[in-house]
Structures are given as C-alpha cells and as structure tokens.
C-alpha cells in the first residue's frame, strides 16, 4: 500500500506542484488549504506524514500541531513544518512539541521531496 501524505498549506501554488511531484513518485497525497479542515483531515485520512504550513489564516500551523498533541490524533514526530519565519521562538516551541523537521519558505522543492522521503524511510511503519 502506498504511503499517505497530507499537505496542510494555504499556498495552493506550492501545494499543487508538490502534489504533482509526489504523486509521480507513487504516494497518495491529499491537500487541505486551512488549519481547521486540516485537523479533520488528520483524523480521517490518517496520513503517514503531515506537511504543515505555519502561516495560515484561521487556525494556524502551531495550533494544529498543539491540537494534534493534546488530542493525540497522530504521532507528532510525523509532522514536517513549513514556515516563512526565520528560526524563532515559535519554531523552537514546535521542536519542543516533538515535530520531525522544519523547512523555511521559500524553499527548494527538491529539498522538500528529499526530506519527505528520508522521513518516511526513517520513521517506523505506522502499523
């Protein structure tokens, strides 16, 4: 069964291209453009990996991560965070929560793909 990746990002440009690239590699990928639906998406889709944007209108990335942690929706170490900010207090707080990795925007897509693949191969299978 192919691995499932959930992309939560309000930036559709990046999301569409990332989706295109990952689908070509045979992953099952879903894109959600806001935090609120993102939380629901995590519950329903049960992804192997979540790529989470920090800056989103409404419930932002950090809050999604906190909800995931509080409600124990999934293993928080299966989250890669995308952020427009430099490494700040906010990102540090996220690492304290236990996220897997962090990538600063604007980023190189190839770099993201590499990180995703590495994360998926390093993380133990969900079952």
């Amino acid at each position: 069964m192919s691995k499932k990746i959930l992309l939560i990002d309000d930036d559709t440009n990046i999301a569409n291209y990332v989706k295109f690239r990952l689908q070509k590699k045979g992953y099952e990928i879903r894109h959600i453009d806001n935090g609120l639906d993102g939380v629901d998406g995590i519950k329903e889709f049960k992804p192997d990996l979540v790529i989470l944007d920090m800056m989103m209108p409404g419930i932002d990335g950090r809050e999604v991560a906190e909800i995931v942690k509080e409600e124990n929706l999934m293993d928080i170490s299966r989250i890669i965070v995308l952020s427009g900010k430099e490494v700040s207090e906010e990102v540090k707080a996220l690492f304290d929560l236990g996220i897997h990795d962090y990538l600063q925007k604007p980023f190189n897509i190839d770099n993201l793909i590499i990180r995703i693949e590495r994360a998926l191969s390093n993380l133990p299978s969900k079952e």
Binding site: N34, L36, M55, P57, G58, I59, G84, E86, E89
Partner: protein
Amino acid sequence: MSILFDFLLVFNILILVYFLLINFTYLFLIIASFFHIRKYKDIDRVFKMTGVYSTNLYKPVSIIAPAFNEADSIINSVNSLLNIKYANFEVVVVNDGSKDNTLQLMLDYYKLKEDRRHRPKYIDHKPIRGVYTSERYPRLIVVDKENGRKADALNAGINIASKDLFCAVDSDSILETDVIIKMLRVFMEDESTIAVGGVIRVANGCTFRNRQIEEVRIPRSYLGRIQAVEYLRAFLFGRVGWDYLNALLIISGAFGVFDRKAVINAGGYLHDTVGEDMELVLRLHDYHIKNNIPYRIRFIAEPVCWTEVPEDSRTLAVQRNRWHRGLADTLFRYKHMLFNPKYGRIGWVAMPFFLFAELLSPLIELFGYIYVAFSLWFGIINITFAGLFLIASVVFGMILSVSAVLLEELTTRRYENVKDVIILIFFALLENIGYRQLHAWWRLKGLIDYLKGNKDWGVMLRQGIGEQK
C-alpha cells in the same frame, strides 16, 4: 394672501434648488468613487509588499480593541485579530470594566500574567487596573481598566500601544486577514498620511468558519438588508468620493488605522461626545491645518471589516439617534471650519454637505413632505407637480441606492450569488419607501435630543457574530 403666495412660491424654488444640489453632489460622488475605486482596484495584486511577513521595513501596527461585556465572543474575536497577516503587530485588548467574566476568560485562555512596567500616560483616561501579557502569545496585551466610554478605552489602548500606527477596531467585528497589509500600502505612498479608513460591511447573513468569513450572503431580515444597502452606499461611494476630493470627515470607529503620534499630539479621543470617531478626524484636520503640518487622511475601498448590525427597529432607532447626535455635536464643535477659506474643500464642500445633506436632511425632508401637502392644499402647486416631485425625490433616492449596489457589483463584487444582488437591488428600491421616512424621523429625534442635551450612548443588543460552526 398674495404675500403668502409669493413666500410659498419662493420656498418651492428653494426646496427644488436644495433637492437638485444635494442629489447632484451625490451623483458626483458616485461617479468620482467609481473611477477612484477602479484606479486602485488591482494595485494590491501588483504590489505584494514581499517584506511584510519577515522584515521590519514597514511600520509596525498596534490593533486596539475595546471590549465591554463580550464574554460570549471575546476569545473568538481576539483569536481572529491575532490571526492577521503582518510581520510586526500587536493586539491590545482593552477590557473596559466589563461586568461579566470577559477578563477572566482571556486570563485563562491566553495564560496571561500581570506585566508591571512603567507606562507613561500621554492622553487622559480612567485608571488602569492591570496590564497583562503572555509568553505563549507574545503579540497580545490585555489592559484592564475602570469603565469609561469607548473613547476612554481607546485612549488607554493608545497609551499602552507601542507601535507607530494603531488600528482601532470594535472587538466584535471580524477583520479580513490581509487588511493591515492593504492599509499599509497607503502609508507607503505618502509619508504624511496620518489616518486611513476602510470599508465596513454588514456581517449578518454571512457565514464564518475557521475565524474567517466563509460565505458572503445578504442578511435575512428586512432591516438587515436595508442596512446592507445603506453601508454600501455610505462606504463605497460616500467615503471613497470624499477621499477623491481629499476632504474625508469620517473614519468609522469600528475600523481605521491612525498614526499614533499624530493622534496623541491632537489629544486622543474625546470623552464627552457620542461621536468620538468623527470628532477625532475633524480634530486631526483642524490640528494639522492650524499648525501648518502637511498631512493626508485617506479612505480605501478594499480592506474589509465585517460587523454585526442590529436587526430590530428599536435598537436601530437608538443607534441612529446616537449617530445623529454625534454628528450634530461634532459639527457644532467645529463650526468655525464651515465656509472658512483656511480649510479649503473641507470648509467649502465637506462641512456644508454634512450640515445640509446629513445633519439637517431629516428636518428638511420631513418638512418637505408637510410643505408639499400644505402647498397643495392652498393651491400654490398643482397635484401633478406635487406628485411628480415626490416621485422624483423617491426615484432619485432609489437611483442612489441602486448605484451603490451596482458600484459594489462593478468593483469589489463580494456577493457571489446573483440572486443576492438582485434582492439587494430590490431592497435599494424599497429603502426609499417607508424606511427612509422612518430613518429621517429617528434622526430628527436625535437632532432634538441633541438640542435637549442628551449624551447617552444607549444600549446595543448583541447577537454575537463569529460563532464557529
């Protein structure tokens, strides 16, 4: 008898002249607004202001939100304010001596701690009981103070705020996330800009989700729909037109960005008026013109703040009564600007317009109805004329209202459903029969109350918007 006859005849002509003058001013404002909005419509898309997320190249902004007994909605409102997209901003919530647990809710939710620090008092206000900040939400400052009026709470907020600009909002309004970026564009165009107003629209009927507006629909009630038309008219072509003339006199208290220093220099909000928002703008004009300081006060049609309007006639009557008293009070305070050449277009166009077309219009309008009936009785005018005159005045009003809806349709086009637009057009027509006369009556009572010296705020019943689905 013939003297009376001549007198009435002259009066008829005066009414006709007034009617033409006012309506052609409105017509001019529509046309000016149309081109003005068109000119700026797409500029936000051209300038992305790429730095806004990451750098401190742009002026930082404090968003000041006074809150009084808003326990039901306060967390949602503050969350939505904290969600605004901008690099350098803070949210100052001023709890204006609420009698419910507004403060406690915030203290718990945001894990706030008292922040004891020296804070100079540039403008006067009721004593502050405590200032709270949170490590978890570094952008948030909560000020707890003794109850005063909204102006008082805003002044306290201005003192505590630390950024160059401040944005005054009603805490129960919903701001779109990109409003600050859009407002900042104006400050970027001209260094002397000291204040910018933005569009306020009726939130009733819209659905909110994820702390944002999800679907823009029209209100369901008669009064709600009428007000949707009124707000479009007031903001889209009233204020945009005045901005075009560089003679803007009102920035609504529910949403405006100001230069903090300029407001402090002018003395902050005035406590003992019910029209503190308009009063401040006029004082800024007055202060800068008197002291020969170059300045610009602007209005832009794009940024949008959604606000709940009262849908029952009693609350609405109280609100309009208060607005009219505020208008009367403000115009009276700045009467020296009227027809004063020193104030240019403000003195010659904007002030007279607000005096005759806004303040005195209910008087003139109601008087006009009585007068036409009277003239008819005495046979000074014939029935055809009277009938046509009435119809013309109503139709002209209809055209103005319909134009406002059309202007929205041609420029911002936020209503996605054509049915909504058609219904609004219908209500734009309907507004002029019945509601307009009722509105004139409320405002006339406001004028009378003002003359009697009533400075009461009245109570607005809130239904609470922004509930999450």
